[in-house]
């Protein structure tokens, strides 16, 4: 009877290794609706007692065909799809995509310092908000509920800035190919300085709550270890790779959008466990604040987008007076721009790791191929290596520590 049941219910790719010989080996299903899988991740876990013998991630529940859709849009229309990929870091996605399109168009040297500095400020604010969200949910998974409430309170103040400049809190599409969608508002600087004044004290509070908290340390130290060699072999990036002890940050190695003009450090872990990844992210928030402070102090005046009317639409006052401007406006919004034939691969450091866009142009107004190399996808691939051999309760800690977002894994 038992054998029959097993034959019926065992899932094809995760059969019990002992083939039913031991009664304490079983295959269980975690997700896709489990609250600590951070979205719709399904894990097939083969466990013996409390020990995880095998883990098989099953993804694709959130597959929306973003790559296929983007290939039918113009370059500018495809921008809004990038928001919806990793919906906790839309500005970083906008930035990576805009840089890729700008390199394809060959207008990288037309981007002025005002645009670059603003992009850096926004990308780092988004990094802060993403890390705050991660910290809140990760701590909630491991049982620290108050951190969750505090983190969301701080994240609100950052989202208020995005709402102020772009009108929306999450799907901003504010950074676009050729510059920014609109000029900064007069309140922008005041709001950013408010966050800069508020957050350092708050982050110190989180350190007080967690960093030397005995319960937190016992739940995270030595858990879900990924060695440096494994981290590189599995293509992980971002805090996972740095937590494993490899100092690698695209902002430092291949500086983009003016990151080489700012002074900041890269926190690196040693053991590659959950605690090190936690510390790396916590220290990164301090470095982000440092970058924002330098950028807002040195924020120059200038145009908020390039002056080439073939790429950015001319201002409204010109459209009403000049036929040429009207034609440019019309052409841009009906057809879009046509980058020359070629292909680019632009990598950036998003809060979760290396986010890269691979664009192929066939000379037309729509991208011929639009591929995303997302950080969560590669980091999730290393998850079985982290949690196999550990305890079932540590699976939750492992998933939380790599900070996946399924919208970007499945695209």
């Amino acid at each position: 009877m038992r054998q029959e049941l097993e034959k019926k219910y065992t899932v094809e790719e995760s059969q019990s290794p002992a083939d039913g010989a031991h009664a304490d080996i079983m295959t269980i299903n975690m997700g896709p609706q489990h609250p600590s899988t951070h979205g719709v991740l399904r894990l097939l876990l083969t466990i013996e007692g409390e020990t995880v013998l095998k883990a098989e991630p099953d993804i694709g529940f959130l597959h929306t065909g973003i790559e296929k859709t983007a290939e039918s849009k113009t370059y500018h229309q495809a921008l809004v799809l990038t928001d919806r990929m990793d919906y906790m870091t839309p500005l970083n996605n906008n930035l990576a995509y805009s840089l890729a399109v700008e390199r394809l168009l060959g207008i990288e040297d037309q981007i002025n310092n005002k645009i670059k500095y603003t992009r850096v400020i926004l990308a780092e604010l988004q990094r802060l908000s993403s890390h705050l969200l991660w910290l809140g949910t990760h701590a909630l998974d491991l049982g620290a509920q108050s951190v969750f409430l505090y983190c969301f309170r701080e994240r609100e103040t950052i989202l208020d800035i995005f709402e102020n400049i772009s009108g929306v809190r999450m799907m901003t599409s504010y950074i676009c190919p050729g510059g920014l969608q609109a000029d900064l508002t007069p309140e922008f600087e005041k709001l950013v300085r408010g966050v800069l004044a508020n957050l350092p004290g708050r982050i110190a509070e989180y350190h007080d709550l967690l960093t030397s908290n005995q319960l937190w340390v016992e739940r995270t130290r030595g858990v879900a270890v990924l060695t440096k060699e494994e981290a590189i072999a599995y293509g992980t990036s971002g805090p996972v790779l740095r937590g494993s002890g490899f100092a690698w940050d695209i902002r430092k190695v291949f500086p983009y959008t003016g990151y080489d003009q700012f002074d900041f450090d890269i926190p690196v872990g040693t053991n590659g466990d959950v605690y090190d990844r936690y510390l790396v992210r916590m220290l990164e928030t301090e470095q982000s604040l440092k970058i924002i402070r330098q950028a807002i102090d040195g924020l120059p005046a200038g145009n908020y987008r390039v002056s080439d009317p073939k790429i950015a639409p001319p201002p409204k006052w010109q459209i009403t007076g000049s036929m040429e401007a009207l034609i440019h406006h019309f052409k841009l919004h009906t057809e879009g721009y046509r980058p020359p034939k070629g292909e680019v691969f632009v990598r950036t450091e998003s809060p979760k790791g290396e986010l890269a866009f691979y664009l192929v142009s066939d000379g037309g107004p729509k991208p011929y191929r639009w591929h995303v190399r997302g950080p969560s996808y590669a980091n999730l691939q290393a998850l079985p290596r982290m949690i196999e051999g550990g305890f079932l309760s540590d699976v939750v800690a492992g998933i939380g520590s790599i900070d996946i977002l399924l919208g970007e894994v499945d695209r």
């Binding site: 790719e13 993804i59 694709g60 597959h63 065909g65 790559e67 296929k68 859709t69 039918s72 390199r103 394809l104 060959g106 590189i232 072999a233 599995y234 293509g235 490899f246 690698w248 190695v253 291949f254 070629g342 292909e343 680019v344 691969f345 990598r347 290396e354 890269a356 691979y358 192929v360 011929y368 191929r369 591929h371 190399r373 996808y377 590669a378 691939q381 499945d410």
Partner: protein, 212 residues
Amino acid sequence: MAITAASTVEAVRSKFPQAVVETVDYRDEQTIVLQPESLVEVCNYLKQSLQYEYFETVTAVDWLERVPRFDVVYQLLSLSHRCYVRLKVRIGQPGEEHPTVASVASIWPAANWYEREVYDLFGITFAGHPNLRRLIMPKDWTTHPLRKDYPLTGFDLPEPHWGGQVPYTTDPGVGSEYYKQTLRTPEGRELNENRSKVNPSQEPGTKKPVDE
């Protein structure tokens, strides 16, 4: 000796003169187009001798009209030398439903999921892959959505059970085989009317299996 992208191209050219089809330098990014047969050999050399230890991504580009049809594009990164290079192989002869290229998952474990994704969305098989199954689409899916001849709207669903109306009678964009079988055309409607006879496990819009 410091290795750069340009020196990598030169090294591969001199070491494997018969394997390199062409090299492209566009926007300071180096591309090496290789013969598909020598891909694994060159990848081993890049990993072992030139320290390209980080595998970023593999994807494909479907050039529908061209022969060979697909570009398979590999992005490699050297962490020690801080440089990157793009490899490309061209595969897919006419009439070949599932073109094959050798898998590099044994060289870089990171390639495992990326190759599964390319198999899933483009129908390119990777010889020697340890676990080549669909990853993103459902397991019983039969087609490959990122191919250029796959309609953007997907396949029309069967008529709603409450008997709603189909909004269009004809579709001017009819051209590919798939479009002929949607609800917007007579053939598609015929198929839809007979759908009670259609095998429920069959995806709407695909041809019937021959044995039925």
